[in-house]
């Protein structure tokens, strides 16, 4: 009995000695708060906060001792938790969602030429500025769909990118990946958008797309505060987006669409009918 206690005690003591010595020799100091924050972050390494991946962001928050940027995918829930870890005032970012400002799939928008090669929008854009006659339209080759870390983008059977308001966390990777800058960020609760990205004259737009904006100014006349025509292309003024839906029926080319009513044709996202408030999204 004594022997067992003594022997184990001796081994333990010896081990403790070597470890104590080693601990001093190989000391490396790591801030535990950094790991705690890292756990909270979604881990998509999307870079929307402007830092190299989530570990970069966590390091910044701990070292910088102030929250210099928000984490869009994390949203306000994560930001509040980080704030109380760091004992700082939480900064809330207005939740944003990405929207593909185009409805010109293969049926509606005409081709400039038959493209052969990589199914990648950036590669196709390099071949004579893309296979579509419209200079700003969605090429529909799925680059944004592959880049999205949250699976929020789908390609309709007729090659049009559509982004689900429910799944999109606003990380912005798709915006950076699109060679034609068709995808833009919009406030979460703004559901009505002018789905067009072409600044050509109306007559030209009519020639190559059935659902393009021909800058006929009807929407602006209908709801002056909610629409703005700039360089021959209408856009929704998101400050007062509530009364934007009124002009949806009036648009002659059906270019304006309210996602609360329906997504572009061919899209499988049906959650539009469910009225989405900020709280449901956070769950």
């Amino acid at each position: 009995m004594i022997a067992s206690i003594l022997s184990l005690g001796a081994i333990g003591f010896l081990a403790a000695l070597t470890l104590g010595f080693a601990a001093r020799k190989f000391a490396v100091e790591v801030d535990p708060r950094e790991l705690a924050i890292l756990e909270l972050l979604p881990g998509a390494n999307c870079g929307a906060c402007g830092y190299p991946g989530c570990s970069g962001y966590a390091k910044m928050v701990v070292n910088g001792d102030k929250i210099a940027a928000t984490c869009p995918p994390g949203g306000s829930a994560v930001m509040d938790k980080i704030a109380n870890i760091m004992g700082l005032a939480p900064i809330t970012a207005e939740p944003k969602v990405a929207v593909v400002m185009c409805q010109g799939d293969n049926l509606k928008a005409k081709d400039k030429y038959k493209y052969l090669g990589l199914t990648d929008c950036r590669a196709a854009q390099k071949v004579a500025d893309g296979p579509k006659q419209c200079p700003g339209g969605c090429l529909g080759l799925g680059t944004c769909e592959r880049v999205c870390p949250f699976g929020a983008i789908e390609m309709t059977p007729d090659n049009l990118a559509v982004i689900s308001r429910k799944k999109c966390t606003g990380c912005g990777k798709c915006v950076a990946s699109c060679p034609r800058a068709v995808i833009r960020m919009a406030p979460l609760d703004a559901t009505t958008h002018v789905l067009c990205n072409s600044h050509d004259k109306g007559a030209l737009v009519r020639k190559y797309c059935e659902v393009g904006c021909i800058a006929c100014q009807i929407c602006k006349k209908q709801v002056p505060g909610a629409y703005e025509i700039e360089n021959l292309l209408a856009t929704v003024v998101y400050e007062n987006h509530q009364d934007a839906p009124a002009a949806v029926e009036k648009c002659p080319t059906r270019c304006i669409r309210d996602f609360m009513v329906s997504y572009p044709d061919g899209s499988s996202f049906a959650e539009a009918t469910v009225p989405l408030k900020k709280e449901d999204r956070a769950a």
Partner: protein
């Protein structure tokens, strides 16, 4: 010629050379079109700056666009006439770019006086200035300003000049006919280049599928120290790095230029243009171009004016033969497809290839079965399939580690891929992403 083992490089492939359509056809003059579209960017480097207004009357050879910076050359009027427009017009790159549109007056009279000169009296620097003012660029397809290539820094001595008469691109026979019909012009150019570079060993590389050209050039070079080197018929034998390795055995370091191994390579067409520029004072407004392919009625070698719309060339060759599927400017391996025939020919247009529907392989892309044909044929000894996989998955660092930047975009991998994977396009995509990443850091 004893069947000694012909000089060549490891890798590469043997596509059907399809030169029989035009190899025996001599070069024909093309009458002036009714409108010349002269783009201001026809060379690597900054585009020229336009210096004529609409309505101005210009003479043949008059500078209509000044060079901007050292790596740039002026652009000249291809004939005398009136400038009817200075506006963006469809350019071979597929984008509308600023171009000067001239309506020929039919006189076709030169500027007066022409900057003629005697090469023996002019110094090397004066010769280089003449070449720059004449807008001489590499006519093998790269269009790199010749005067820049001919002025290497002191610490990089040049001891070898190689004249590239290989023309390994299938279908094209422009250089071949030039060597057969105007060898003297080429040799005058060689003499000028020799003086500029002060080199003594000079080679002319020609593939053995042009025996008549080899015989003629050897006969013309007899008595001089210019050596004609017959090379094995293999694509891309004419690529700069591969040609240098085949003839001198030196390997241009990765990411480096030929001058780093003391060599300068000039295309046969460029060499002839050098002679014209110095002796006759002609700027580069004319070049030889092969119009061929099954989609054209008569395949011909033409002497065309820079700025001639392709439609005019097609009409001169008896029009199209059936519905064209692809309009390719250059050769089938590295040429660029064109949107329409309104595009003008430029200084780098070595060929116009019209393919019909059955000439182009319309097969759906399959998965990579790792058959290693692309690895075996890659002249840069890369792993095209691995780099393409990394490019597809946005793994740019790995693509860089696998030396994607060393790809010379010769097209061998896509040519030999049984699954029709667009490997060259993927590698080009990877290179662009790497350059963008480097720019960001």
């Amino acid at each position: 010629m004893a069947m000694t083992k012909l000089k060549t490089f490891p890798g590469g492939l043997h596509p059907a050379d399809n030169k029989q359509w035009t190899a025996s056809r001599s070069i024909e003059f093309v009458p002036l079109p009714d409108e010349l579209i002269i783009p201001l960017s026809q060379h690597i480097g900054a585009p020229a700056e336009v210096c004529v207004e609409v309505g101005a009357l210009v003479k043949k050879g008059e500078i209509i666009g000044k060079a901007k910076g050292f790596v740039s050359v002026p652009v000249h009027a291809s004939t005398s006439g009136e400038v009817v427009a200075v506006e963006p017009r469809l350019h071979p790159s597929g984008r509308p770019l600023l171009s000067v549109v001239i309506k020929p007056d039919g006189e076709d009279d030169w500027i007066d006086p022409l900057p003629q000169g005697d090469p023996d009296k002019l110094s090397a620097d004066e010769l280089k200035d003449r070449l720059r003012d004449a807008g001489i660029v590499g006519m093998g397809g790269a269009t790199f300003p010749a005067h820049v290539k001919l002025s290497p820094p002191e610490e990089k001595p040049i001891d070898t000049l190689i004249i590239n008469g290989v023309e390994c691109e299938p279908y094209l026979t422009a250089d071949h006919r030039l060597m057969l019909e105007e060898p003297e012009r080429i040799l005058q150019g060689v003499a000028i280049l020799r003086k500029i570079l002060t080199v003594d060993n000079i080679y002319i590389g020609i593939e053995v599928n042009k025996p008549d050209a080899i015989a003629l050039m050897t006969e013309k070079c007899a008595g001089t120290d210019v050596k004609v080197v017959p090379l094995e018929v293999k694509y891309p034998q004419g690529a700069e790095k591969q040609l240098i390795l085949a003839i001198t055995g030196r390997e241009v370091p990765s990411g480096g230029l030929p001058m780093e191994v003391g060599v300068v390579v000039q295309n046969v067409g460029t060499t002839a243009a050098v002679a014209d520029a110095v002796i006759n004072g002609y700027p580069l407004i004319e070049r030889v171009c092969t119009v061929t392919g099954s989609g054209i009625s008569e395949q011909k070698n033409l002497r065309i004016r820079v700025g001639t719309p392709l439609q005019h060339l097609v009409d001169f060759c008896g029009g199209l033969n059936g519905d064209p599927a692809k309009l390719i400017m250059g050769g089938p391996m590295m040429g660029m497809t064109q949107l329409s025939l309104d595009v003008p020919a430029t200084r780098g247009t070595s060929g116009l290839l019209i393919f019909g529907e059955d000439d182009i392989p319309l097969v759906e892309q399959g998965p990579c079965i790792r058959c290693a044909r692309c690895v075996k044929t890659c002249p840069a000894h890369l792993l095209p399939t691995t780099i393409a996989a990394y490019a597809r998955l946005e793994m740019i660092d790995e693509a860089e580690e696998y030396c994607a930047m060393d790809c010379i975009e010769c097209g061998c991998c896509s040519y030999s891929c049984p699954s029709f994977i667009p490997l060259v396009q993927s590698l080009r995509h990877a290179k662009a992403a790497i350059l963008e990443k480097r720019r960001k850091i």
